[in-house]
């Protein structure tokens, strides 16, 4: 599995006024017990308790709880290199892309060979302002397309500023067939779903979120005791229902009997990784997290079962009753 030095990162994108700062403040105040490094356009916009500020050299703001904030610059590569040279590495990197920028550009930089062994992009989250979207001029339309094409999660925010018909038009014009989206007011999204805080590893499906959010989501866990056929498995996981927002699994396959394969699905993007340095395990495990009622459990269970008939078992639960 991932070495502890790999730092997850989330890129938050969207036009000015779409709710990026609201979302960032929500994350910062959720008390997740993580030391965040936050790269923002203007840290004056963040709700930071002055008493928390341990040091401010104009470029980097250090907080008493171990978090740091810095102003994002054109020199993303240099800034990330500097971040990784710090004595105390952050647990999580949050990057607020400027309102007029392409978050895909930042995502690509995180994938450069110099960074990808140290930082793992968890997700690009793009916020849309439901009130603003229908009125975009050409140039901004193209920018919105650029911001959406890189998105793993789409948050249609400020839904109180449009009616049901407008919302439906937004969904039709702007979402992709595989988009995982949230519709919110004040960017109130279930944070554990959009942040890769490790809350959904196969061994830990516990949620740390409000009751209100918890009731909205279901999880499903499945294990197989014999090696699976990779091509059939990949096809199945490529076609996860839209109601599934996150998935993580570790698999033993017939094709790679000595090497466990790790699968992670965030929003609309699935990723595989070969774990060369991990010993083969006895069983394969998959955990899915999705919107309650957003996927057909029976069909999924049947497909899981069909992967290795007679040797599979699974369980599902709602988050009010976590796995023990």
């Amino acid at each position: 599995m991932s070495s502890h030095t790999i730092i997850p990162a989330t890129i938050i994108s969207g036009f000015l006024g779409s709710g990026k700062t609201t979302l960032l403040n929500r994350i910062m105040q959720a008390e997740m017990g993580l030391r965040f490094a936050v790269m923002v356009n203007d840290f004056g916009q963040l709700n930071i308790d002055k008493h928390l500020i341990a040091n401010n050299d104009g470029r980097v703001l250090s907080l008493a709880n171990g978090c740091i904030c810095c102003t994002i610059s054109d020199d993303m590569v240099g800034q990330l290199e500097a971040l990784l040279r710090r004595e105390k590495l952050p647990d999580y990197i949050l990057i607020e892309a400027s309102g007029v920028s392409d978050p895909g550009r930042i995502a690509r930089i995180l994938n450069y060979p110099v960074f990808r062994e140290r930082i793992a992009l968890d997700a690009v989250v793009t916020l849309l302002d439901a009130g603003q979207l229908p009125h975009l001029e050409t140039e901004f339309r193209q920018l919105a397309m650029t911001q959406l094409e890189a998105a793993d999660f789409v948050i249609i925010n400020k839904t109180d500023q449009c009616n049901a018909t407008q919302l439906e038009t937004i969904r039709r014009d702007w979402l992709f067939p595989d988009s995982r989206s949230f519709e919110t007011v004040r960017a109130d999204v279930p944070l554990p779903l959009i942040l890769g805080t490790g809350a959904h590893t196969p061994l830990n499906t516990e949620f740390n979120d409000s009751e209100q959010h918890r009731e909205l989501f279901d999880s499903l866990c499945w294990t197989w005791e014999r090696p699976l056929k990779l091509d059939v498995l990949r096809k199945l996981l490529d076609e996860l229902p839209l109601g599934i927002y996150r998935a993580k699994g570790i698999f033993m396959t017939q094709e790679f009997p000595e090497t466990p394969l790790v699968f992670q699905h965030v929003g609309s993007r699935g990723q595989w990784k070969r774990c060369e340095d991990t010993a083969p395990c006895q069983e394969s495990t998959l955990v899915l997290i999705g919107r309650r009622g957003g996927f057909d459990r029976d069909t999924l269970l049947q497909r899981f079962h069909a992967l290795a008939p007679g040797a599979a078992q699974g369980h599902s639960h709602q988050h009010t009753s976590p796995v023990s």
């Binding site: 020199d75 240099g78 500097a82 450069y112 060979p113 193209q142 992709f176 595989w272």
Partner: protein, 583 residues
């Protein structure tokens, strides 16, 4: 007509002028007699300079006499670091342009098929590469199509194809293109970019990000000759219209030299051009580099064109914090930046190039890089003595104060580029080099006061090719069109010094100062006539939009906006110039 001079075959020293400019305010850039009223030109050289009276006897019926009526004239300008090919040639290459604002995958498909049909494989493009822009990832996702080589193979499989995406962050290549570029499972990623792969099999998906598309460029045919030729030609027209008579076109290969040579042969090389051969393959491959340096460069040489010069990137850029500094970067304990060559490698290369008479132009943005470069020149001078070849520190964004006298001592030019000494947002990015370096950024004054040769370059397309913007900026350290009083850190220089930087110092950096760069009897008749007298106007906001009415190189009229030579046998080479943006 060939009428060369030699020891025993002199053109008559006496005789009448081909052209006489009279009644002007002519600044010569010669300390002994900075101002004259008239110049007489014969056989491409200044025959006489002085008062109207002193040249009047040189006029006969064949002479063309231009009455300047008090207008200001001065020597022509020098842009000592610029890249017209990189700025223009890709746009002129005739690559695929889908030409629809938000093309759907089907529209991209149709455009590729149509382009491929209209552009079959040819002698210049034997494999029939289809290269161009662009596709839109949004529309692929909307259509539920994965943009990968399999999709592109379904459009065109028998010819290599590579299409840029709209945000220009990646290129989508088909299987054939990947094969020709030798991109496979085991190909290592470049450092600033990557080959997107299937994470289990390692097979390339066809998406190549940032630095990785240089691998496609390396496999493609070189930029077409017609595009390079047009790029240089447009720049020559533009520069003639701005009074430029000498340039260093930095980074060339055999194809670029061929384009320049063809313009030279056609009589359209309206400047003296030093074309600097790329020492590295980091911008484009130079397949004949060693042949060129062994002597093939002389094939391209003429009195207007030479390739006795190499250019290399010694350190990096401030954007990637790879500028190599003399002390760690701000906020760092050890990181000083990055050098692309060790000091030992540099010394060996410099010694070899110096012995061949080849100028080394070293990209040194950081004061640590130029310190090592000057050390290497010191090593060479110790071995082979002074003066040697006048090498060049390129960019010189920041220099150590201790090094300022070494430019004169070691016979090295300090070239300042791009135009970052005025407070634009672009220039402000250089301030990341730290507060204590801010005052020393682009230190023209420091080099000049220490007796060194300072020149400037536009570094187009990094900054605009109009040299007058940087010229004014040297005098004011202000943005010419700004209404506020914001200054860029560092010292201004005076007008006489700025003119020297733009003229005679440029000639000196090309080692032609004995024949060009100022207005003196016997020197090449390179002169420009302006719509304003630089000595009689405010500097701020008044110099950068100077209009050049006449440009002469070797007595040849290359630009004549007022048609003073129209209808004579000396009509201007160029009658129009491209605009290249706002200036």
């Amino acid at each position: 007509m060939q009428n060369f001079e030699s020891s025993h075959c002199r053109r008559p020293a006496q005789g009448c002028a081909d052209i006489v400019f009279k009644s002007g305010r002519i600044y010569t850039a010669e300390a002994a007699s900075p101002w004259v009223e008239s110049v007489a030109i014969r056989n491409g050289k200044f025959l006489a300079i002085g008062s109207d009276e002193s040249t009047s006897g040189l006029i006969d019926e064949h002479s063309i006499v231009i009455d300047l009526q008090g207008q200001f004239a001065m020597p022509g300008l020098y842009d000592m670091h610029t890249h017209p090919d990189l700025a223009l040639a890709p746009g002129y290459a005739g690559y695929l342009d889908v030409g629809i604002p938000d093309p759907t995958p089907d529209q991209v498909r149709n455009a590729i098929v149509d382009y491929a049909t209209r552009n079959p494989p040819s002698a210049q493009n034997p494999e029939g590469w289809v290269y161009g822009h662009y596709w839109v990832r949004f529309n692929f996702r909307k259509a539920g199509i994965k943009p990968d080589r399999h999709w592109l193979d379904s459009v065109i499989a028998d010819r290599p194809a590579a299409i840029l995406d709209r945000s220009w962050g990646c290129v989508l290549a088909n299987t054939k293109a990947l094969a020709l570029a030798n991109i496979g499972v085991n190909t290592p990623d470049p450092s600033h970019g990557y080959i997107e792969r299937d994470s289990i099999s390692g097979e390339p998906t066809g998406i190549l990000v940032d630095g990785a598309y240089a691998m496609i460029h390396a496999a493609m045919p070189p930029t077409p000759q017609h595009a390079l030729r047009r790029a240089y030609r447009d720049m020559l027209m533009f520069q003639a219209s701005r009074g430029v008579v000498g340039s260093k076109y930095v980074h060339v290969c055999e194809h670029r030299l061929e384009a320049l040579r063809s313009l030279d042969v056609a009589g359209e090389l309206t400047q003296r051009v030093e074309a600097s051969i790329s020492w590295q393959d980091d911008i484009f491959p130079v397949k004949r580099r060693w042949q060129l340096l062994a002597g093939e460069r002389f094939y391209y040489a003429s009195d207007r064109l030479n390739a006795n010069s190499v250019k290399f990137h010694f350190d990096g850029t401030h954007e990637s914090r790879s500028t190599y500094l003399s002390t760690p970067w701000e906020g760092e304990t050890e990181w000083r930046g990055h050098l692309n060559m060790t000091p030992e490698h540099l010394r060996a290369m410099l010694l070899e190039m110096d012995s061949k008479g080849v100028r080394v132009i070293a990209h040194c943005t950081g004061d640590g890089a130029s310190d090592i470069f000057l050390d290497a020149v010191h090593y060479v001078r110790n071995k082979t003595g002074m003066p040697g070849v006048r090498h060049q520190v390129a960019h010189s964004t920041t220099l150590l104060d201790e090094n300022l006298p070494r430019f004169a001592e070691l016979n090295v030019t300090a070239e300042f580029s791009p135009v970052g000494w005025i407070p634009t947002d672009f220039a402000a990015q250089r301030l990341v080099l730290g507060a204590d370096r801010a005052q020393r950024l682009y230190n023209f004054k420091g080099v000049l006061d220490a007796g060194g040769n300072a020149v400037m370059g536009t570094d187009w397309p990094v900054t605009h090719p109009n040299p007058w913007i940087g010229f004014e900026g040297m005098l004011t350290r202000k943005v010419p069109w700004a209404t506020d009083d914001e200054r860029f850190p560092g010292d201004e220089i005076c007008l006489d010094d700025a003119i020297a930087v733009m003229t005679i110092n440029g000639a000196r950096s090309m080692e032609i100062e004995d024949i060009a760069g100022s207005i003196a009897v016997g020197k090449s008749a390179d002169i420009i006539v302006l719509d304003r007298n630089l000595f009689e106007i405010d500097h701020h906001g008044k110099i950068y939009d100077t209009q050049v009415e006449l440009t002469l190189l070797e007595g040849e009229v290359i630009w004549d906006s007022q048609s003073r030579f129209a209808g004579t046998p000396r009509a201007a080479v160029w009658s129009e110039a491209p605009a290249f943006g706002y200036c």
